[in-house]
């Protein structure tokens, strides 16, 4: 077709242990909004990174405006006319809007930067987009939405032909989304090719022309948006194949005591009025999309981030948790999604990491009883089948799965009764995943209560006894495993937006 501006054919990309992209095809036409959908980890972001030269592809071909291209850096892609509006905005907070838009290619007059011209050009861009932003405003003073619009303006100023939006509405309010859509429609009318990555079904239905669905690094199919239903897309996203047997019934006895009760927890923008209960020996799955506020809930609960309001009860008694120290004392353990930053002390040995949270138990007088420490570490290495030559090995030499086991051991040694697993298998290869799953199930059997945050639906369905679904900082669904399906969870994970849209239509804006 002559109006096809960009074609990606047979793109293949392997990361150590993961086949991130498996012969993926994708194309964009002039004047269309093409949605790219898929669960977290389906490969959307990797595909876009390959396109914009942030990562190199292993094989495949990219044809842009009739020429085969290979971008080695984001700069080259930008020059050619492919620009990405990032999910995490890349702006220099201390500079003004115009200065940010023209960073790296400032117009000069004599020795000085021609700020007046930059402001004028920026104002022109904004007029073109029908946005009301003062080019002289400092970037950090703008709302996220306006910062994003500046990114769009920056993209256009690069003389872009293809603009990629990566979850652009994740942090926007209702009115702002409307404004963004108006801009996108405007851009479409002007003939730009637009790639739109989002999880939000109703948005996809509203503004996109075609939808391409990816799953597990594979291309699943492309649909014309107007000719398909929400359900069609969801079923393509989750697939009919279930990779592992999901759990069919809640294994937690009905009378199990409540060990943790959270009431009306509020913390920042992403934890709003969260209340739930956790029973002894239960695995409570927290499902939702990235940015739904699950990690934030966990961190607020653990005392790692300040709480605005809300109460936490442990064994029916109100717990004063203001720091991780309090949480650990109360018997909570948190396994972060980012093991390297928040989990293990990588340079240090398996033994030292194992006793990190409970070193006071390994003291003989004022000295650390290293023999006992090594003994306990070795016991846990054996019990958890951690693969390490010895307990003196620095944790950084271990694989992801084994690092995770060391962190699990840390909380077992500290006698944590409530363990919060945040994305327990992120960055862990398939075989080791299985082991972690078995381990978690075993922990629950021995009476530990587990909160598991996961963005992989299969993982949620396989392990949880009960599932809580979050969206935009609120709990939007709670179901027993017996009633849960992938479709139901997905629906709940996107429900908030639909409800708000209706509410928004009535109120005009949301607080």
């Amino acid at each position: 077709m002559e109006d096809v501006i960009l074609t990606m054919k047979g793109i293949d990309k392997t990361f150590p242990g993961v086949h991130a992209l498996n012969h993926v095809d994708f194309d964009v036409r002039r004047g269309e909004v093409h949605a790219l959908m898929g669960e977290n980890g389906a490969g959307k972001s990797t595909l876009m990174k390959v396109l914009t030269g942030i990562c190199a592809k292993d094989s495949g071909e990219i044809v842009f405006e009739g020429r085969t291209v290979e971008f080695r850096s984001p700069g080259e892609a930008q020059e050619a006319g492919i620009v990405i509006v990032h999910q995490e905005l890349n702006m220099i907070g201390h500079l003004t809007v115009a200065q940010n838009i023209f960073i790296g290619r400032e117009p000069k007059r004599g020795l000085f930067i021609d700020d007046a011209r930059m402001n004028k050009e920026a104002a022109k861009l904004f007029a073109q987009l029908r946005i009301d932003i003062d080019p002289k405003e400092t970037m950090s003073n703008l709302t996220v939405a306006k910062q994003q619009m500046c990114e769009i303006a920056k993209a256009i100023s690069h003389d872009a032909k293809v603009i990629i939006f990566d979850e652009p509405t994740a942090a926007l309010t209702e009115n702002e989304i409307e404004q963004l859509f108006a801009i996108i429609q405007d851009l479409r009318a002007k003939g730009y090719g637009i790639v739109y990555i989002s999880h939000r079904m109703d948005e996809i239905k509203r503004i996109t022309d075609r939808v391409t669905v990816m799953r597990d690094g594979q291309y699943i199919g492309t649909l014309i948006t107007a000719e398909c239903t929400k359900e069609d897309i969801i079923s393509m996203m989750v697939g009919r194949v279930i990779y592992e047997d999901p759990k069919t019934e809640n294994r937690c006895p009905p009378g199990a005591p409540v060990v943790l009760k959270v009431e009306h927890l509020n913390a920042g923008r992403l934890v709003r009025d969260v209340s739930f209960e956790l029973h002894q020996g239960e695995i409570l799955g927290f499902a939702g999309l990235v940015g739904a506020g699950r990690t934030e809930t966990a961190r607020a609960l653990f005392g790692a981030d300040p709480r605005d309001s809300g109460d936490i009860y442990i064994d029916g008694k109100k717990a004063e948790i203001h720091s991780p120290r309090d949480a650990v004392k109360a018997g909570i353990g948190y396994l972060s999604e980012d093991r390297k930053r928040f989990g293990a002390v990588l340079q240090k040995s398996v033994a030292e990491n194992t006793t990190l949270a409970s070193l006071q138990k390994f003291m003989k007088g004022i000295f650390i009883d290293k023999r006992r420490e090594a003994g306990t570490a070795a016991e846990h290495v054996k019990a958890l089948k951690t693969k390490t030559p010895d307990v003196e090995q620095p944790v950084k030499n271990l694989s992801g799965g084994n690092q995770q086991k060391v962190i699990i051991a840390k909380w077992l040694v500290s006698d944590a009764r409530i363990m919060i697993f945040d994305e327990p298998t992120r960055g862990i290869d398939v075989g080791a995943k299985q082991e972690i799953y078995e381990l978690m199930a075993k922990l629950a059997e021995t009476g530990k209560s587990i909160i598991m945050i996961s963005s992989e639906l299969a993982e949620i369905l396989r392990l949880s006894d009960r599932i809580i679904v979050m969206c935009e900082g609120r709990i939007t669904g709670e179901m027993d495993i017996a009633d849960a399906t992938q479709e139901k969870i997905m629906a709940a994970a996107t429900r908030e937006i639909d409800q708000q849209r209706q509410a928004g239509a009535k109120e005009g804006s949301r607080p």
């Binding site: 850096s73 984001p74 700069g75 930008q78 890349n90 702006m91 220099i92 907070g93 201390h94 500079l95 200065q99 960073i103 790296g104 400032e106 000069k108 020795l111 000085f112 930067i113 700020d115």
Partner: protein, 335 residues
């Protein structure tokens, strides 16, 4: 109604946190302090004291303007103080022992500063050495080097009676009034203001300044925009080195004797001044004008304290406390 109240309150908090507020406060403090010293000591009120304050602050001022740039990138430069002494010692050595002309010595002094700045910049930007360690190394290096090259002797630059003394007039012009009274005019202040204006323009209106701010504020974003971050980071240190060289000339031009081993501590006054003036220790924002005001405060204290009977040790104590206080305020201003 309530909404506008909240907005107004937010605006007020934003203003209190803003650099403008800090600078206004600083000006107020300066005026009050000056008034206080004037009230406390009749001798302080004289015009010559004012001229003396000016004369005393040129080198600190130049250092503070220079160090503003590395601080904005999130770094620092500790080598300025001993570097200053080292360069002016070598300058005097070149003049006295090697027979260089005055202009040659001045040029060499400034270039030595720039060279050291380049070395610092290379270590920090290219080799990723923590700035405070890299510049600590060059601080010690300068401390040793100045003495080694000059054999541990004090250095002097042409004084008022020698040929070439004209260069002192750059900083301090003495005119004889009709009554026969000699009135010193702190001419150097004019150049300082001029330099401050130029460097403000560099910081705010050239690519150099823009990228230096960018490095401190959003290094990754800058890199993604295709800017050579290493180069501009290095340039911040080169600017600082260049100003240290200029400060060395100013020091030589205002003081008669340059003693090897001196100079440690000058950089702390300069860094303290920059931070008081609203340049953030964490990088990304800063102001040459603010640094100027900060130096005024420190110099006012340095000169004023002896007038109320507090000796040099109190100055040290006060400048130490100012440095700590400034960083604490900087920390507290950032939410």
């Amino acid at each position: 109604m309530e909404n506008t109240m909240i907005k107004r309150k937010a605006a007020r908090i934003a203003f209190i946190r803003s650099n403008t507020f800090q600078r206004l406060l600083l000006i107020a403090v300066l005026i009050l302090l000056y008034a206080f010293f004037c009230a406390a000591s009749p001798a302080f009120r004289r015009y010559t004291t004012l001229a003396y304050i000016c004369n005393n602050m040129y080198y600190t001022l130049l250092l503070a303007i220079g160090v503003t740039f590395p601080i904005i990138t999130g770094g620092t430069d500790l080598s300025m103080g001993t570097g200053l002494i080292c360069y002016s010692l070598i300058g005097s050595y070149l003049m006295r022992m090697c027979g260089w002309p005055l202009w040659g010595a001045i040029l060499a002094t400034v270039l030595m500063g720039a060279a050291m700045g380049t070395v610092n910049g290379f270590g920090v930007a290219k080799l990723n050495i923590p700035p405070f360690i890299m510049t600590l190394g060059s601080m010690m290096f300068c401390r040793g080097m100045g003495s080694i090259l000059t054999g541990g002797m004090s250095g002097t630059w042409p004084n008022y009676l020698e040929p070439g003394a004209g260069f002192r007039k750059i900083f301090r012009l003495v005119i004889t009034a009709d009554s026969g009274q000699r009135i010193p005019i702190p001419l150097g202040m004019v150049w300082m203001v001029l330099l401050a204006v130029i460097m403000t323009a560099v910081l705010n209106h050239t690519r150099t300044g823009r990228y230096i701010i960018g490095i401190g504020s959003g290094r990754e974003a800058l890199k993604l925009s295709g800017v050579n971050v290493v180069k501009w980071n290095m340039i911040a240190y080169i600017i600082c080195g260049l100003f240290t060289g200029l400060a060395a000339v100013a020091y030589a031009g205002t003081f008669s004797n340059i003693t090897p081993g001196e100079g440690a501590g000058f950089e702390l006054n300069a860094i303290g001044a920059a931070i008081i003036g609203g340049t953030s220790m964490t990088g990304g924002s800063g102001s040459v004008f603010g640094a100027f005001l900060g130096v005024l405060l420190i110099s006012l204290l340095q000169v004023g304290l002896p007038f109320i009977g507090l000796n040099a040790n109190w100055q040290l104590l006060v400048t130490g406390c100012i440095l700590m206080g400034a960083v604490t305020i900087d920390r507290l201003r950032k939410p």
